[in-house]
Symmetry: C2
Subunit: 300 residues, 2 copies
C-alpha cells in the first residue's frame, strides 16, 4: 500500500472527502450530495464518480468512511458501538468491504449510549472527531462540544468516549427561522453581534425553551431588536441555551469549522465559559488516521 488514502465524511446533506498522504491533507472535495440525494443502489457509482480524479491519479486507494453513510438510510448499515468506546472498539466493529473498482473500503460504526440526562443517544461521525481530538491533544480527560445541526457534548477518559448528549441546536434554529411565526415576513437579515449577545444573555434567566423563543417576537414588537437582526437573536438564543448545559470551571474544547467555533466562543465569553477551538476537519482526518492501522491489521 502506498501512503495515500481517502478519508470521507458522508452525511445526510453533505459529502466531504480528503485525499490524504499519511496524516496530511493533500486535497479536498465538498459536494452537496448527502445521503438524501442518493438513490438506493447508487452509492458505489456516485462515490466512484466523485473520486474519479484521485483514483485515476493514484489507483484504487483505501477509502475510510464515517458519518450517516453507515446508518439505515446509508450505503451499508453498521451497528453502533456501545459506550464506553475506544479506538479499538470502533475498529473491531467497522465494516470492511471492497468497492466495485477494487478499493479496500471501511465504514466506521457510530456510537450509542445514555446521555447525561438519561436519554438514549447516538452519533455517527463525531466519534471519529473525538478520537482525533484525543490524538492531537492527549490528556486523561476531554470535555468537547461539537456544534452543528445536531450538536454533541461529549466526555472522554484516557482516549475513550464515555458519554455524550445531542442538542438539536442547528436544526431548531433552521426550523424557527424558516418555518415558524418568529421568522415570518422578515426583511433581508444582517448579522448583528449585539442581537446575538442579547439572545445569549436572555438564556441566562433559566426560562424554558418554548417560552424563551417567544421573546424573539415580543422584543421585535417592542422595538428592542431590529427586524433585520431576528436571525442573529435566534442564533444567540439557541446557542446560548445549548451552552447552559456545559458546566463552568472545566476546560472545554469546541470542535468544528472556524466560523462556527468562533460563534460559540463569542457566546461562551458572555457566560464565564472558556472554549478552546479545534478545527473539525483536522480532528476528523486524525481520527481516521488513528483507526487506519487497526483496520488494516484486522483485515490482514
Amino acid at each position: 500500500m502506498k501512503n495515500n488514502w481517502i478519508a470521507i465524511d458522508w452525511g445526510t446533506t453533505n459529502f466531504r472527502a480528503f485525499l490524504m498522504q499519511g496524516s496530511v491533507q493533500v486535497s479536498q472535495i465538498n459536494q452537496a450530495c448527502g445521503l438524501l440525494s442518493i438513490e438506493q443502489g447508487q452509492f458505489a457509482s456516485t462515490l466512484q464518480t466523485l473520486l474519479q480524479p484521485w483514483l485515476e491519479q493514484h489507483g484504487a486507494l483505501p477509502v475510510v468512511m464515517a458519518g450517516m453513510v453507515g446508518s439505515q438510510q446509508g450505503w451499508h448499515e453498521v451497528p453502533y458501538a456501545e459506550l464506553p468506546c475506544s479506538a479499538g472498539d470502533l475498529a473491531s466493529r467497522t465494516l470492511a468491504f471492497q468497492t466495485p473498482w477494487g478499493s479496500p473500503a471501511w465504514i466506521i460504526p457510530g456510537a450509542h449510549g445514555m446521555s447525561q440526562f438519561g436519554q438514549p443517544d447516538v452519533m455517527r461521525g463525531e466519534e471519529v472527531q473525538l478520537l482525533g481530538l484525543a490524538a492531537l491533544y492527549p490528556a486523561s480527560r476531554h470535555i468537547a462540544l461539537l456544534p452543528g445541526t445536531h450538536s454533541k457534548h461529549a466526555a472522554m477518559r484516557n482516549g475513550e468516549i464515555v458519554s455524550f448528549s445531542t442538542f438539536m441546536t442547528g436544526e431548531v434554529f433552521s426550523l424557527l427561522t424558516q418555518h415558524s411565526i418568529l421568522g415570518r415576513a422578515l426583511p433581508e437579515q444582517q448579522d448583528s453581534q449585539q442581537a446575538f449577545l442579547l439572545g445569549v444573555k436572555t438564556t441566562g434567566e433559566g426560562a424554558p425553551f418554548t417560552h424563551l423563543i417567544f421573546s424573539a417576537r415580543t422584543r421585535r414588537l417592542a422595538g428592542e431588536i431590529s427586524d433585520a437582526h431576528i436571525h442573529s437573536y435566534l442564533s444567540g438564543l439557541t446557542i446560548g441555551y445549548e451552552l447552559q448545559a456545559i458546566p463552568g470551571g472545566q476546560h472545554t474544547w469546541v470542535v468544528g469549522s472556524p466560523s462556527l467555533t468562533a460563534r460559540y466562543q463569542l457566546a461562551a465569553s458572555q457566560m464565564n465559559l472558556e472554549l478552546s477551538p479545534v478545527n473539525g476537519d483536522d480532528c476528523f482526518v486524525h481520527g481516521l488516521w488513528q483507526l487506519l492501522p487497526l483496520l488494516q491489521g484486522n483485515k490482514s
Copy 2:
C-alpha cells in the same frame, strides 16, 4: 339595543363568531379565514359576508372582537393594555368604531407584561378568556393554563390579570412533526396513549428541550416507539415540557377545547398536577359579556 350581539375571536388562522342572546350562545360560525388570508382593506367586506345570515335576521347587531384582529397585521391595531389588567382597564383601551353597515363595533386590546421568567410577553384574545374564567368561577386567585399554538400560563388576583408567560407548544409540535428530521419518512400516524405518556414521563428528567426532543429519534431507532406513534410521543414531550413550568400543589384551571384540555389533563395525571378543565368558548363569550356593558357605557 336588543339583547342580541355578536362575539368574535378573529385569530391568525381562524375566524370564530358566536351569535349571543345575553350571555347565551345561540349560533356559531367557524371559518378558516384568519387574518393571514385577508387582504388589507378587505376586513369589513369579509366580515359582512361572514355575518350576513345573522345581520339579515337581526339587523346591525353590536360586534365585539378580540384576538389578532387588533394586531399590526389585523384590521385596526389596538395597543396592548399593561399588566396588571382588569376588565375596566381593557374596556377603557378598547377601540370603538362603526362598521360600514352600521353595527357598533369594538376591538378589545391585548395585554402586555413581563413573564414569570423576566421576558416581555404579549397575548391577544386570551385576556378575554381569563376575564370569563374569573366571572364563571369567582375567586381571589386564579392560576390558568390556556393551551394552544402559543399556550399561556396566567395568574389572576381579584379578577385582575397580574402575570402570564407564553409557551410555543403547539407551534413547536407542528415544526417538529412537519419540518424536522424527527417527523421525516413516517407512516400514517396513530394516536397512542402509551407513547404520549412515555413522552410526558421523559420530560421529568430535567433535560434541556433541544436535547429532549432528540429522544424521538433515538427511541425510534431503538424500537422503543413505533414509527406510527412518533407524533403521540412528540405531543407528550412538548405538552409535558410545558407542564413542568406549572408549580405543583396549587389549583390550576385549563381553559380550551374539550379534546385539548383532556390531553393536558392526561399529561398532568402523570405529574402530580391537578388541572380543572373549563370550556374555552364559554370563557371567551363570558369575558366579552363582562366587557359589553363597560364598552356601551364608554360609548354613550
